[in-house]
């Protein structure tokens, strides 16, 4: 599938207050088409998710946002990316894919344990968004966070050791697969609870705005990306944060990785109105739907959203239609999903798509792409070897870092007002 010229819909006010099954389905282009009778409580097989045409911009009815950016791109340059950018994107997606495949291997060999949620198939979203960020920008993720960590720049060695539970991991083995934190790369989680990362991300965006306006730090224009799935979009915290982010015009982008499935719950069975991008305008922010299997389209939408946030024009809700090729986690037998659906999305593999685009547009040749793959293979072999050889955390690490204040009492590094209970500092819990 090559990148086709954007089927650009003119910005127009979204008709507010339309309910799902009331209007005639054929006439309204914003509605999904359902084949057969829409029996929401029945088997998901009777509902076919027919994706809408790619890029649509929904403008809240009280405001017009500048959609000009995308049309400009269409008319000016022929290529959306340069060769360097293309190779960077390709390398990042290959790293994400190979890493996750390696995780599966390691899990079945017993080196990795607990919950492991893999990202295969969704690489375009991570790469498309995160590669546009500065180092100071923040990424908040969910339990499916390995590839977000890698795209943000956390070394593969650190992520792999963390998964093995070794002391050299990015969180010294204390977080695990679902809790990747890296202060240096501004990746602040890794949250296991659905929806938990969204308010935290909104807070990070709030701190950026606070620093700029109250603390008067002129360079504080950092944006925050919050990644979460379709299941989360039915959670209360999501709506609370859409409200507050729009109310206070926070520099945040809410990125919905709509892979249609929340473990075994089909998005269509769980949601009264499955079009998530429409929930943005309901709160007064721009809502965008994009084909999440195409990294270049994601990148275009991301560029506009990030620029909007950095300018101070507030949040955006981006719904990326994507798919996970593996089950929800490595423990998921993945029996409920239709093999035909899986095959359809496998044909839209983002890595193959980018490869085809780059070769057809003479941005790179097979040789160069193969050498990238080989390089990533070596990076991963090195990461696994490093993690294997790394030590387990020492026993003393059990009681460390419960508090930032290392003795657990009082205030002040100068020792004043500090109350020293000898038992606490020596850690009498017998390990």
């Amino acid at each position: 599938m090559s990148f086709s010229a954007t089927n650009f819909a003119q910005p127009r006010p979204v008709p507010v207050g339309i309910r799902s099954n009331e209007k005639s389905l054929s006439s309204d282009p914003f509605r999904f088409r359902f084949r057969g009778s829409p029996s929401f409580l029945g088997s998901p097989h009777s509902l076919r998710f027919n994706p809408t045409p790619p890029l649509k911009l929904a403008i809240p009815h009280c405001r017009r946002s500048t959609a000009a950016a995308v049309t400009d791109v269409k008319s000016s340059a022929n290529m959306l990316i340069t060769k360097e950018e293309g190779l960077e994107l390709y390398e990042d997606m290959i790293l994400g894919r190979f890493f996750e495949d390696m995780c599966a291997q390691m899990y079945y060999r017993g080196k990795m344990f607990g919950f492991v949620h893999l990202y295969n198939g969704q690489e375009a979203v991570s790469t498309g968004f995160i590669k546009l960020l500065k180092k100071e920008d923040t990424v908040v993720s969910t339990y499916r966070d390995h590839v977000h960590a890698l795209s943000k720049g956390v070394p593969a060695r650190a992520v792999m050791s963390e998964l093995f539970g070794k002391a050299t991991g990015c969180c010294r083995g204390q977080g695990g697969s679902m809790h990747m934190f890296s202060k240096e790369h501004n990746l602040i989680g890794g949250f296991a609870f659905i929806g938990e990362g969204i308010p935290v991300a909104t807070g990070a965006a709030f701190s950026s705005k606070y620093r700029r306006e109250v603390l008067k730090e002129a360079s504080a224009d950092h944006v925050t990306l919050a990644f979460f799935g379709d299941g989360t979009c039915n959670n209360g915290q999501f709506y609370e944060c859409l409200n507050m982010a729009a109310l206070w015009k926070l520099p945040i982008i809410f990125v919905v990785e709509n892979n249609l499935w929340a473990i075994g719950m089909s998005h269509l069975r769980a949601t009264s109105d499955p079009e998530i991008w429409k929930k943005g305008p309901a709160f007064g922010m721009a809502g965008v739907h994009v084909d999440g299997m195409d990294v270049l389209k994601v990148r275009e939408v991301a560029k506009e959203a990030i620029e909007r946030a950095r300018r101070g024009d507030g949040p955006t809700l981006v719904e990326c239609e994507t798919y996970r090729f593996r089950g929800h986690s490595l423990a998921d037998p993945d029996e409920l999903r239709d093999p035909a659906e899986k095959a359809r999305y496998a044909a839209r593999d983002p890595i193959s798509a980018l490869k085809k685009y780059m070769i057809e547009n003479k941005l790179a040749n097979e040789q160069e792409l193969k050498s990238i793959e080989k390089k990533i293979d070596e990076v991963l072999d090195d990461a696994v070897e490093f993690s294997d050889e790394s030590p387990l955390p020492p026993r003393s690490q059990l009681l460390e870092n419960v508090f930032a204040d290392s003795k657990g009492f009082g205030i002040g590094p100068d020792g004043k007002y500090r109350c020293e209970d000898p038992k606490f500092t020596q850690g009498t819990a017998h390990v």
Binding site: H179, F191, F206, F409, K416
Partner: protein
């Protein structure tokens, strides 16, 4: 910051003064006997911390234009502006998470819950994103946030507005849980909480807000802070130890005066800090008196008293001359009717009875209506 000699002098002065509520006929005047309500104490603490550090900001429902649901944040909106005193929508989970996210980046939010009952809507963020983050990130991300608000029973507000959350929050590693009694406690502990680099749950009491306590000049100083994790011996004694926090300290002090008339000298410990619990002070006191009565307003099972009792058994079992008496609220959701509510919360008579039982002055076990 006070110099260390002033600091120890101050602590000694505080320890030996009996801080009694409102009017007391005879007291030694150590410095200016100024009186301050708990409300004013909290307000002044917030004011001073906000002016000292621009990263401190307040958020909560009605903290701004309404001047605070209980007027704790009165005047702060006018002084610091809407960017630092945020009126939030009614979204506890959302705004608590926003506070945590801001704290990840070094800002110092003070999140107000209108009552701690509402914190249950946000408890995921208090525990999972605030308390556990420093540990999960192996020390990379600390969360210098304060969650404050009224806790425990008020008067006639019913079951959903009356629960005490001290035991729940204090069982979670990664949180510090403080509960002040007097104005001096309120000022010192809130300032310490705001300056602390870790998440602090600050449990106030609505019925104490209006109570007035004498405060010394040291307490009024803007760098006054109380250490976290240190209890205060409000009244020294040698026959029985009574531990309490928040409003129950006032009751325990009344009990102390009543028992004194009968020849029982009670030592009253104001816990101040529920987590970390000042086990050394409690144990030292029990080793001196050999009897213990724990008092709390919350539900009895798995409560603060249960933890104190176990700590004493683990460390000072040989010193106990009588079983530990545990006074707690009744094991029922709080009723509304005034007479039932009175029975559901510890009263001075209940504590007196328990202390006498601990001292083997035969008193029947069950309370009568």
């Amino acid at each position: 910051m006070l110099a260390s000699f002033q600091h120890s002098k101050m602590l000694r002065a505080i320890r030996h003064k009996n801080i009694l509520p409102a009017i007391s006929a005879f007291r030694a005047f150590s410095s200016s006997a100024k009186e301050m309500t708990v409300r004013e104490a909290l307000n002044s603490a917030l004011d001073e911390e906000m002016s000292a550090d621009p990263k401190v900001f307040l958020m909560g429902e009605e903290v701004g234009e309404y001047q605070g649901a209980y007027k704790i944040t009165k005047g702060l909106l006018d002084k610091y502006g809407p960017e630092r005193v945020l009126d939030t929508p009614i979204t506890e989970a959302g705004f608590t998470g926003i506070g945590v996210g801001a704290a990840y980046y070094g800002l110092r939010p003070v999140v107000e819950f209108m009552t701690f009952n509402f914190s249950m809507q946000a408890i995921d963020h208090i525990i999972n994103s605030a308390a556990k983050s420093n540990y999960m990130s192996a020390g990379q991300i600390s969360v210098p946030i304060v969650f404050r608000g009224p806790n425990g029973a008020a008067a006639g507000v019913g079951a959903q507005h009356s629960q005490c959350y001290a035991a729940w929050y204090a069982s979670c590693p990664g949180l510090k849980v403080l509960s002040p009694y007097s104005s001096e406690d309120a000022r010192g502990l809130l300032k310490a909480a705001i300056r602390d680099p870790d998440p602090v749950v600050f449990l106030e009491n609505e019925l104490l807000y209006g109570e007035s306590f004498p405060v010394s000049a040291e307490v009024l100083d803007s760098s006054f802070c109380l250490p976290i994790g240190k209890a205060k011996i409000e009244r020294e004694g040698k026959d029985v130890t009574i531990t309490a926090f928040s409003k129950m300290v006032g009751y325990a002090l009344k009990v102390g005066r009543i028992l004194a008339k009968e020849g029982i000298s009670a030592e009253v410990i104001n816990l101040r800090s529920i987590r970390p619990l000042d086990r050394s002070t409690i144990n030292a006191s029990v080793r001196k008196t050999n009897r213990l009565v724990t008092v709390e307003e919350g539900f009895p099972q798995h409560g603060v008293g249960a933890e104190i009792c176990t700590s004493v058994i683990e460390e000072s079992f040989g010193y106990l001359d009588a079983p530990v008496e545990r006074i707690a609220g009744a094991d029922v959701p709080m009723p509304y009717a005034a007479n039932l509510e009175r029975m559901a919360v510890p009263q001075v008579e209940d504590i007196v009875r328990a202390a006498k039982r601990a001292c083997y002055r035969s008193v029947p076990l069950a309370a009568t209506a």
